[in-house]
Symmetry: C2
Subunit: 108 residues, 2 copies
């Protein structure tokens, strides 16, 4: 899931998840892979971009509607991951739900 | 400029810039630092979050309005950097302008 997502014409929606991890894996990598797999197959999913360095991780997922984002938020496996995120994996995070108004792509 | 930005209550705006670099620095790091410095002092700037790993870099900047984003886009030093980005630094990128509808923050 690395790389740039080719998304359809706006408007569509983006969820920006910026986080700082705690030390140690504690089951995070396995659960993160599972969440990517589940989200990718979810109704309304348009793509995902992710990068992490020593300071911060940013994952942006793209969706067709606020309804699809809400359904994914309420997915039961995702709810378990959200809880584990708060009790062990993340020191802190910000989650932002946005409406994409315009976009442009460049390829050399 | 690492870390999570504490932004004001929505609505506000986010610019998501996802990119894949070409090989070698070619003056990129110095210009990137300069752009962060310039953007941070620009009218309407609310914060910036950035992460890069071997696959992808994601920088999200936050702004008070579409007008401020437009002014920053047209800043003359920034225009030079945009041009260098297209002619040397980036293999490809996506730029998305979004309206942040809601957000939440978590701190352990």
């Amino acid at each position: 899931m690395s790389g740039i997502s080719i998304t359809p014409e706006p408007p569509y929606y983006a969820v920006i998840f910026s986080s700082q991890r705690t030390d140690g894996d504690k089951g995070y990598a396995k659960m993160a892979d599972k969440m990517v797999e589940l989200a990718s197959g979810h109704h309304g999913f348009l793509g995902m971009e992710s990068a992490r360095d020593e300071g911060l991780g940013i994952t942006v997922s793209y969706w067709d509607s606020l309804e699809s984002i809400q359904e994914w938020k309420e997915n039961s496996a995702h709810k378990i991951a959200q809880e584990k995120g708060k009790t062990g994996w993340y020191k802190n995070f910000a989650l932002r739900v946005c409406r994409v108004e315009r976009h442009s792509f460049f390829e050399m």
